[in-house]
Symmetry: C2
Subunit: 193 residues, 2 copies
DNA sequence: CTCGTTGTGGACCAATCGGTCCTGAATAGA
DNA sequence: TCTATTCAGGACCGATTGGTCCACAACGAG
């Protein structure tokens, strides 16, 4: 037994996620990663194996992070439908912040890789499914709370919200004006009435 | 005066668009381009200046192409609302074809560049605006034809459709199942009732 | 047919890519 | 303290990147 690791894998993974999230896979170089993570190349390859493998770690990390945060947000709110609404309003509100300009990491990856990379595609789909399930859970709770009109198909609505959220974030990333995004959010949420 | 050009600029631009559309900017190499276009490097640089400049040409080309096609589609249909519906149904139907897997070139570019590249960002926004205007025109015509309920805000709806179309195409590119896409389309179009 | 002009192909370039590997330093157990 | 082990730094690698440049071929005007 010898030297303990001088860095925290979780912490440097987080840094990697931020870089990949902001720049995408192709546009990110090894140097970008190692300097952001504070790692030497040898430590990098020893720990993560390759740039591609690290990207998959980042994807997993994002999915867990987003899922956890979103599920928490949707679960903790006293009225589930309000939580769903606030998620969309938040995206429009934060569109022009640095975080908003990054878009959704899942969506970005879907756009960059498509179905070409199986490992990546699988994780993207898993992330989208997680988002869908989170929305669906919230909608079912909303239904029980009497906030969702009877006859609404929670699954179809959840899928719709998943697609809409990605569309909205894409528009935000493209630099759409605030009132444009507000129009979108307004119309999306009208589907819940 | 001497040798005439041995290739058609329009034709090779089209080839370039196809490559960029399928692979994105970063993932496309000069070699990809020149071999698809059938050009030597010198002819390439003589004609287009740089990879980046060609990408802008491709973006313009796509916008004009999509706009023209969509406007035509929306204008020629006897009932404008049916045309709008058919656009969305077509995306879901063609999702798993090669063309569907490419996603929307505008959306892809928005995702890849964000607002980082001014030239690109400007063209992306112009493309989204063109899409929005096309939808808006169709919705106003639908309204005149009595197919759109009174009180609907055509501009807000058009923006919503623009975002939704991008979201839908992103889901398709991510490899979403057909019935997922159908749920999305169904719910999107329900906003028009 | 000749000549001047211009497009073309490919050699060539420095820079950078992702990735490997070796050296030396740091450290926990004995 | 000594040693076995594992760490980090960076030299180094071939391949590839986007881009330049030049010698040659093709062609229109005279």
């Amino acid at each position: 037994m010898a030297r303990p690791r001088e860095f925290d894998v979780d912490e440097v993974s987080e840094r990697a996620l931020e870089v990949f999230w902001k720049q995408g896979y192709q546009a990110t170089t090894l140097q970008d990663l190692t300097s952001a993570m504070g790692l030497s190349k040898s430590s990098f390859y020893e720990t993560f194996g390759s740039k591609h493998a690290l990207f998959l770690v980042a994807l997993d990390r994002y999915r867990d992070k987003v899922l956890a945060r979103l599920v928490q947000l949707l679960d903790e709110a006293p009225r589930a439908l309000d939580a769903v609404r606030s998620v969309f309003h938040a995206v429009a509100r934060d569109a022009h912040s640095e975080a908003g300009q990054r878009g959704c990491f899942i969506g970005n990856s879907a756009s960059e890789f498509g179905v070409g990379d199986p490992d990546c595609s699988c994780r993207v789909r898993s992330g989208l499914k997680a988002l869908e399930d989170a929305f669906r859970g919230a909608l079912e709770r909303a239904s029980q709370q009497g906030d969702l009109p009877a006859g609404k198909d929670a699954r179809a609505l959840a899928r719709f919200l998943t697609a809409s959220l990605n569309g909205l974030r894409l528009m935000a990333k493209a630099g759409a004006e605030r009132d444009t995004l507000d129009d979108v959010v307004y119309t999306v949420l009208a589907a819940l009435d």
